[in-house]
Structure formats: C-alpha cells, structure tokens
C-alpha cells in the first residue's frame, strides 16, 4: 500500500461565502480516506476555523484574494495544508486560552485556534517573510480505512 496519496487542491476566493464550498470539499476528501462521520465533522470544523482566520486576519476581509486548500495522505497522516498570501499570523498568539476566563469575560473571537488544536492531532504554522503562509492540519488516519 502506498504511504502517500496524490494531493488534491482547491482554490477559493477569500470571502466567508466560500466556507460552504471549503467544507464540502474537505468532507468529501476525509470520507474518501475512511474517516467516520464524527471525525469528518471535526476535520471540517478545524479547516473552517483556519480559513475563517485567514479571511479575517490575514486578508482582513479583502475578498479578491485566494486561499488554497490541499489535501493528501502522508503515511498515517491525513494532511490539510491551507495557504494564503496575506499578513502572517503571529504563532506566539497560539497559546491556549484560559477558557473559563475567556467565557466569563465574554471575549468574542480567539477561540478558533483553540478549537483547531482540540480537533486535530497536529496544527502547524509556517511563515517566512516574502513567502506564502501555510497552516498544516493533521489527523491520524483510522486504523482500518474503509476503502
């Protein structure tokens, strides 16, 4: 069995209207790789959160930009790489929020990254000046893929 799969990519416009297309694309790929529905839902939500952050923070709602979502398998890892050309996100801001403190002070926002880390096995950010930003989300594949 090959330990890698062909990467499939989708490019969408950087607006929130694209989120439903992104979810549909990622859900289809996750199912193809044998994830059960509850895991499909988790992966879809994590990708939605990552793309929402890009639209809001990297592109600041400029809707004429692009987001690329690439999905594939690397060994036991189902990998989603989301790329953009916007402002870099500060990885130092990725510390886990104190949820109770966050909620009791009615702080809105900032919970997307927390969700991503809860829902996925790995969340990595790659930023280099002058290059595209990448967010890499990984979920370990089920032990016996139903393919």
């Amino acid at each position: 069995m090959s330990s890698t799969s062909k990467t499939i990519s989708k490019i969408v416009s950087s607006n929130t209207e694209s989120l439903s297309d992104i979810r549909e694309f990622v859900a289809g790929q996750a199912r193809t790789h044998g994830f059960p529905e509850d895991e499909v839902a988790n992966i879809v939500l994590a990708v939605d959160e990552a793309c929402t952050n890009i639209i809001k923070h990297a592109y600041r709602f400029a809707s004429d930009k692009q987001i690329e979502i690439s999905v594939g398998r690397q060994g036991r890892e189902f990998e989603v790489i989301i790329s953009d050309d916007g402002r870099s996100f500060d990885p130092a801001a990725l510390r886990n929020p104190d949820l109770k403190e966050h909620l009791t002070h009615y702080r809105r926002g900032g919970l997307g990254v927390y969700l991503m880390k809860k829902l996925m096995d790995t969340v990595e950010y790659q930023f280099q000046p002058g290059q595209r930003n990448h967010v890499r989300l990984v979920k370990f594949l089920p032990a016996s893929p139903s393919r």
Binding site: E17, L19, L45, L99, L103, R108, L111, L115
Partner: protein, 119 residues
Amino acid sequence: MTEFKVQERPGEGVSILDLRGYLDAHTATDLENAFQRLLGAKKFNIVVNCRDLSYISSAGLGVFMAYIEDVRKNNGDIKLTNMTPKVYNVFDLLGFPILYEIYKDESEAISKFQNTTKH
C-alpha cells in the same frame, strides 16, 4: 451558498429563536441581527432552539458571547435547547455549559424562565 435561517417565534413570556442550517462566519450576522431586534424590543428572555441547526463554528458561538452580557444585565438570559450531539460537542469543547444553560427540550427552558419570573 451557506444555508442558514433564524426565525423568531413568541412563547409564554419568552422569545424563541429557531435556528436552521449552517451557522458560520458568513451567516453569523443573521443571528446577530435577530439578537439586536430582540434587545431593541426589550425582549431579554430568549430561548434558542437548535433542533435544526446542522453546524456551528466559533464565529457562531461568538454571537452568543456578544449578547449574553447585555441580556443578563437586563435580568434576562439566553437558554439553548434541542442541540444535536454534533452541535453540542462544539459548545462543550469551548466550555459553554459552564456559563450557559443548555436543555434537551425547549419546554424545559421555557419553564425555567417562568419559574424565575414567579420569584
């Protein structure tokens, strides 16, 4: 296109919002508008029925966080009901059950409001 609908329905001493479809960063504004209408009309006893809510992201949860303080300052509350396990899981991951009352059925939330009002 993301499908989301929010409809207001009067209850006994409460306002009920029925949510349907996908609540994400694109559709969160629709829910915000519904809360703004309720608060503008001084309706602070709010039940949100999530029976037909298929999906919620943190952008949707953020709307509840944005309005709960104002609602409670006016002696009201936002009580959530009828969530599917999938939607409840997202609320649970973010610790919402600590600060928000979540009921299995709409009638439980309505009677909670009625009991509170009697005291």
